[in-house]
């Protein structure tokens, strides 16, 4: 594959493993981040794929250590933001390609009341809290990687995550009461 041949010529500690490591580390939080910037989940996945491809193609510009989570996180975030901004500027947004896997149909999504309540509560959270929950829980990624992508310290990310879960709990209980249930979620 071309990516393998091109990677052999790469310098600065890059190899195919670097790409796979980046994918495994940042895939979930980056998709979550893009989803928080107003993308639907499908578009967010496409943009994340574009961002990884761009980061790999332009890796000669990356002067940091490819193993340094914070440096790579900031780099990926910048690329994702540029792609996102550019697509917003252009009227014609790149059409999403069909995925290799079968996307679960909306109707097939577990539609029990518990999820409904949680989804409604999530939508009422502050944007920053929604962002961190999406980034962290989409693939249960480490807080360190989430913090690196957000450009904040691990401590700040943990605090934000804690507050988000606490707030979500309260909102969910309120939502349940509104629907006529007095129980705890």
């Amino acid at each position: 594959m071309a990516v393998e041949s091109s990677s052999r010529a790469a310098s600065g500690g890059f190899d195919v493993d670097s790409l796979e490591r980046w994918l495994n580390t940042f895939r979930g939080p980056l998709i979550g981040l893009l989803a928080s910037w107003g993308r639907n989940w499908r578009d967010a996945e496409e943009f994340a794929a574009d961002a990884f491809a761009e980061a790999w193609i332009a890796r000669s510009r990356f002067l940091g250590d490819p193993h340094d989570v914070e440096a790579v996180g900031a780099w990926l975030r910048g690329i994702a933001f540029r792609l996102h901004s550019a697509s917003q500027r252009n009227a014609a947004v790149r059409r999403a390609e069909p995925l290799d896997r079968v996307e679960p149909a909306e109707a097939a999504v577990e539609a029990d009341e518990r999820s409904d309540v949680l989804a409604a509560a999530l939508a009422k959270l502050k944007p920053a809290q929604q962002t961190i929950l999406r980034m962290h829980y989409l693939e249960q990624t480490n807080v360190r990687e989430v913090a690196a992508l957000l450009g904040v310290t691990v401590k700040a990310a943990e605090e934000r995550l804690y507050q988000a879960r606490k707030e979500l709990r309260e909102l969910a209980q309120r939502e349940l009461r509104r629907r006529g249930h007095g129980g705890r979620s």
Partner: protein, 591 residues
């Protein structure tokens, strides 16, 4: 994660279940990313395509700056080399053709027997050439409009070529007028001088009088717009003196014309005063240093920093030191800019830093620096906090490393207003923390940032002042003085990226440095530009130009000289009053 035991949180399982439908398949995602990379590699869309063989060959034989521009693909071959060369060649061609035409007209001229027309009056007999030259002259008058909109037509970097084009037109008008005068029997030296005077005045008003305020001033010229304008005014005054000698106008009118030249020279011709460190030293020495006022402290900072950067000694700043120390001792609440300027100019000793650090708010600020978390975002004027910290509290390498990390977390990653200033502040803090490695790591980012914020003039914009740096390239495509200072400060630290033309930058800064009414005594308005210019010229250094580049850069000056030379040729082609009197011809010149 720090969860308080008594507070119930949403279950993690619930959250994972909520987002499960959106979870990507890792293998499919990886395949997709690799397919996209392979697709881009296959179509040659790599990080930076190699220049073509032809371009690489051209770059190897061309002068260094031109070659670099070609390789950097920041300018096309046409705009880099061909257009200026074509325009320069046209100037020489127009001069030679016009000179031949004037000489031919002179040879074939009727004896100047017709009475010389009145000053500024139409000749009694208008032949076809005189009518046509009059129309062309009218068109030239509208050239001023053309020079004003030139930046929008061809971009600011090539606006000067519009001026050169107008000078070529003036040469043509001159040749046509001489032919017309020759046919009408009016080849008197006085008449020709009067005609040249009118033509030069028209061209000056159309093209040159604006150069002080307009953006069309030649930014790449070594000698600048001032010499061109000065030569033009000398030419007009010279024509007036010929008219005086030939008695083709009375003394009052000649005096008025020369007076006009003097006034225009004083008010409109850009001064040509090279920036000198003495200007900055003089500004600092005379600075009032009122710590209760914000005015002037930034400028004093620019002046002092520039002197330090170019290795010049600071003047005696005892008055500033006393003012700052008094403010600290008296407990005055000064604007942080005062402290920051004082810190950068080394006006505060350890004892006074200690006194300042004992103030409640300052002590809190220092505590926050050491124990705070998260991105460390401080405005420019709060830089003194770091100076104060380093002067008053022993910091461990770990604390310094943590501070550097917090600055790193504050690095501007998303396009926003003031991104350049933001980046400069990070760089300054790293420099104070002795973390050159951080600055080096961001060198490529800084180059990209600098290129993005540089107003190159390649974008067509009517009101853009090109050559400097802007605070926000998406909103303001024009140069700002403080952003240009920041840009030059960063260039001094990380070098000049290939997309920035130091000559164009210097041309812009030099124009700004001459902005004061008395250029050799810069004011608050121009001191920052004088400081910027000195740093650019003496700290960074503008690369030397070879003969070809110099020639192309001075094309407007060359065209001006050729136009003046043609005027001299035309006047000399006429018959002087003395010659007519010696020949006993009618020399009656009614006025």
């Amino acid at each position: 994660m720090s969860e308080e035991p008594n507070v119930e949180l949403t279950s993690e399982d619930d959250l994972r279940a909520l987002l499960a439908p959106h979870r990507p398949d890792p293998r499919a995602f990886e395949t997709k990313v690799k397919a996209r990379i392979a697709e881009r590699v296959a179509r040659g869309d790599t990080e930076r395509a190699e220049p073509s063989r032809l371009v690489r060959w051209a770059a190897s034989v061309l002068p260094p700056d031109v070659g670099c521009a070609l390789l950097a693909k920041k300018a096309g071959l046409a705009t880099t080399l061909v257009l200026p060369a074509l325009i320069l060649a046209s100037s020489f061609g127009a001069f030679v053709a016009s000179k031949r035409s004037i000489e031919r007209s002179s040879r074939d001229a009727e004896p100047p027997t017709a009475p010389e027309p009145k000053w500024n009056a139409r000749p009694p007999t208008l032949n076809r050439d005189l009518v046509r030259s009059g129309r062309w002259l009218t068109l030239l008058r509208y050239g001023s409009l053309l020079t004003m909109i030139a930046p929008a037509l061809v971009g600011g970097a090539h606006a000067i070529d519009i001026t050169v084009g107008l000078l070529l037109g003036a040469m043509g008008v001159l040749a046509l007028s001489v032919r017309g005068l020759a046919s009408a029997g009016l080849m008197r030296r006085g008449t020709l001088a009067s005609m040249c005077c009118g033509l030069l005045t028209t061209v000056f008003v159309a093209c040159f009088i604006w150069t002080r305020g307009m953006n069309a001033a030649d930014p790449t010229s070594r000698l600048g717009a001032s010499l061109r304008s000065s030569l033009m005014l000398v030419g007009i005054a010279g024509c007036a003196l010929v008219m005086l000698r030939e008695r083709s106008a009375n003394k009052g009118r000649i005096a008025f014309l020369i007076g006009w030249c003097v006034v225009v020279f004083a008010l409109f011709v850009p001064a040509w005063t090279p920036a000198r460190p003495a200007q900055l030293a003089s500004y600092l020495s005379s600075f009032e240093a009122d710590t209760g006022e914000l005015r002037g402290w930034d400028e004093a900072d620019y002046a002092g920093e520039a002197l330090l950067a170019i290795g010049e000694p600071l003047p005696n700043l005892e008055h500033m030191r006393r003012a700052v120390e008094h403010a600290i001792e008296a407990g005055d609440e000064c604007h942080p800019t005062v402290w920051t300027t004082a810190a950068r100019l080394d006006l505060v000793d350890a004892a006074h830093w200690k006194t300042l650090a004992e103030r409640k708010m300052e002590a809190y600020a220092l505590d926050q620096l050491l124990s705070g978390i998260g991105p460390l975002r401080k405005p420019r004027y709060n830089e003194y906090e770091l100076w104060m910290l380093l002067a008053t509290r022993p910091t461990t390498p770990e604390q310094r490393a943590k501070l550097a990390e917090r600055v790193e977390a504050n690095w501007p990653r998303e396009p926003a207003y003031g991104m350049l200033r933001h980046a400069q502040q990070c760089v300054r803090w790293w420099a104070l923390l002795d973390r050159q490695d951080r600055i080096d790591a961001h060198r490529a980012d800084l180059h990209e940032l600098l290129e993005r914020h540089w107003v190159s003039g390649k974008r067509l914009s009517l009101f853009a002042t090109i050559g400097g740096f802007t605070s926000d390239p998406t909103k303001f495509y024009t140069s700002f003085d403080d952003d240009t200072w920041i840009g030059v400060d960063l260039l001094a630290r990380v070098g000049i990226p290939p997309g920035i033309d130091p000559w164009l930058l210097r041309g812009h800064v030099r124009g700004e440095a001459d902005r004061g009414l008395v250029p050799w005594a810069p004011t608050d308005l121009s001191i920052d530009s004088v400081a910027t210019l000195l740093r650019l010229e003496r700290e960074i250094g503008v690369p030397r130009r070879d003969a070809l580049e110099t020639l192309l850069g001075e094309r407007a000056l060359i065209a001006t000289c050729l136009t003046l030379l043609l005027c001299i040729v035309a006047i000399r082609a006429g018959t002087s009053r003395a010659e007519l009197e010696a020949a006993g011809l009618d020399v009656d010149t009614p006025r």
